[in-house]
């Protein structure tokens, strides 16, 4: 099994939260019951760098939950096309591995990690390969200098948006910081895409909230998802143009300025700072039973 050094990497800063995402791919044998599909796996590392309470070693329940939320958003909504990862049915498929490193915990790790994973997937390029050998059963992988590596097929971008509930004051917050997370009563993460499809909703325990509030959250999430999708796409565009320009510089006039092209890896750093996403939408919900009008300060 050969691992390729081509990787897409991204770093996301969401307020004080900082997350790094790295994507790598390997050629492996597919699962027996899915011979024509590639594999996508997500590994989350809650580094002790991010928070003094994170222990090294086995991932705790928060890490597992985060990994599962992102996984569900990508895999089950078929955001990444796994069938395009198949090279030779039953023998060789690409297994894409996403590593998420949490560098700084300022709250709302799920959203930041999700964006990091998406940004890394969009900039990742896998080497092109073709079938060869006597009976067409061997796979030849072409190094990036010979043949241009290919991007992954990503159909849509599922964006996770987390809400925090405070039942005492009936307040709903979007994108909680870690101080708010410490005192909030309940949380809910909705994964929606810019088309308005709901990819996943995760609400694990905490305070019960009325149905009306859930619908409000979904509407808010859909509007936010569109703006975040645009920001991610802009950042990826900027990176792609920069990379194309770097390739043009490859021709022999420049001596030793850019070492990067000559090596087998393309590292992509997209500083995506979504400062304005941090603006909290405080929605004050008052119960209609008490005959007060519903105030919405958005």
């Amino acid at each position: 099994m050969v691992t390729y050094r081509e990787d897409g990497s991204s770093e996301v800063q969401l307020g004080q939260t900082r997350v790094m995402g790295i994507v790598t791919a390997q050629l492996v044998q597919p699962y027996r019951d899915r011979p024509k599909e590639g594999m996508l796996s997500i590994f989350t590392e809650f580094s002790p760098m991010a928070d003094p309470s994170f222990e090294p070693g086995r991932p705790g329940e928060l890490a597992v939950e985060l990994g599962r939320i992102i996984d569900r958003g990508l895999r089950e909504s078929r955001a990444v096309d796994t069938e395009s990862l198949c090279i030779l049915a039953g023998k060789f498929v690409w297994a894409v591995r996403i590593d998420i490193h949490i560098l700084d915990n300022g709250g709302n790790l799920v959203d930041a990690a999700n964006i990091a994973a998406l940004a890394a997937l969009l900039t990742f390029r896998r080497p092109e390969c073709s079938l060869g050998g006597e009976d067409g059963q061997e796979v030849i992988v072409h190094p990036p200098e010979i043949r241009e590596p290919l991007p992954l097929m990503v159909h849509h971008l599922p964006i996770a948006i987390t809400f925090g509930f405070f039942s005492n004051e009936s307040i709903l917050l979007i994108d909680p910081t870690h101080n708010e997370e410490a005192v909030m009563n309940g949380r809910m993460t909705t994964t929606v895409n810019a088309n308005g499809d709901i990819c996943a909703i995760q609400k694990g325990g905490g305070e019960g909230v009325p149905q009306r509030v859930i619908m409000q959250c979904l509407q808010l999430a859909t509007s936010k998802a569109a703006s975040i999708t645009k920001q991610i796409k802009d950042a990826v565009e900027a990176f792609n143009t920069e990379r194309a320009l770097r390739k043009i510089k490859r021709h022999p006039t420049s001596t030793g300025v850019d070492v990067r092209e000559k090596q087998n890896q393309y590292t992509c750093n997209i500083p995506v700072s979504l400062e304005h996403f941090k603006s909290k939408t405080e929605v004050v919900i008052t119960r209609t039973r008490k005959h007060y009008p519903l105030n919405m300060a958005a």
Partner: protein, 242 residues
């Protein structure tokens, strides 16, 4: 014998250095260090109460966690952790805060050769940012011996793979002091001629090794100056902000 290096450097030239500190909000001290394309992020938490099981409670304890870019933690990472721990133990003043643990976490952002030296430099800067008491700083450099016998500094990953042998060297940084000359030397030699850590891979002759040490020491003065400039700049920046 001139050797053609891929990026046009001469044999004693280092890659462009960049570092910044205080980049993370939760960590008590943090720093990022990059040499060319190799980039390492270090964070320090401490001192925390209590020491680990087998450690001496009369001294401070340093714990190192190395996080690779991708993949499982294996023996190589454990080795790096051990080397970093021993190096840092020798430069920190362990008697100031007994029965405490200081955690140093290293995250590899990109590996393009000379990874361990970059990590040691980053860890030093992060410890300064966190305010952990230290005797002096450490600067680290990688020297390698090519098949032709030539000694070059600061290799990239490709160069490292084609070398006959390489050595990671850690020196104390050069000292500017108000104290009189005599107190800073050990047995007649100035303190910065000492060597804190040396890790070698591959086979090299004794002469080659001593030559590496000389080259490394010369380069370490440049690194010390760079480090000092950076720290001074950052302390004036933060005093303005404060």
């Amino acid at each position: 014998m001139e050797v053609d290096r891929e990026d046009g450097r001469s044999q004693n030239q280092l890659r462009p250095l960049a570092c910044s500190s205080n980049i993370l909000h939760r960590a008590h001290g943090s720093a990022s260090w990059s040499q060319g394309d190799t980039k390492v992020l270090a964070a320090v938490y401490g001192p925390k109460a209590g020491t680990k099981k087998n450690e001496n409670p009369e001294k401070a304890c340093i714990e190192v966690i190395w996080k690779p870019k991708t993949g499982q933690i294996g023996k190589l990472e454990k080795e790096y952790e051990m080397i970093l721990k021993r190096t840092l133990q020798s430069i920190c003043i362990l008697t100031v805060n007994p029965n405490t643990t200081t955690s140093v976490i290293i995250q590899v952002v990109n590996d393009d050769g000379a990874l361990l030296p970059s990590a040691i430099n980053a860890a030093c800067m992060a410890l300064v940012d966190a305010g952990i008491p230290m005797r002096h700083l450490a600067v680290s450099i990688c020297c390698c011996v090519a098949r032709s016998g030539l000694v070059i500094l600061d290799p990239t990953k490709l160069e490292e793979q084609n070398m006959k042998a390489f050595a990671y060297l850690v020196f104390p940084n050069s000292v500017h002091s108000v104290l009189p000359e005599g107190s800073l030397s050990v047995q007649g030699e100035p303190i910065e001629n000492g060597i804190i850590t040396s890790v070698t891979h591959g086979v090299m002759s004794v002469d080659d090794y001593f030559y590496c040490l000389e080259q490394g020491r010369a380069a370490s003065t440049k690194l010390s100056d760079f480090l000092r400039r950076n720290l001074q700049q950052q302390s004036t920046d933060s005093s303005k902000a404060g």
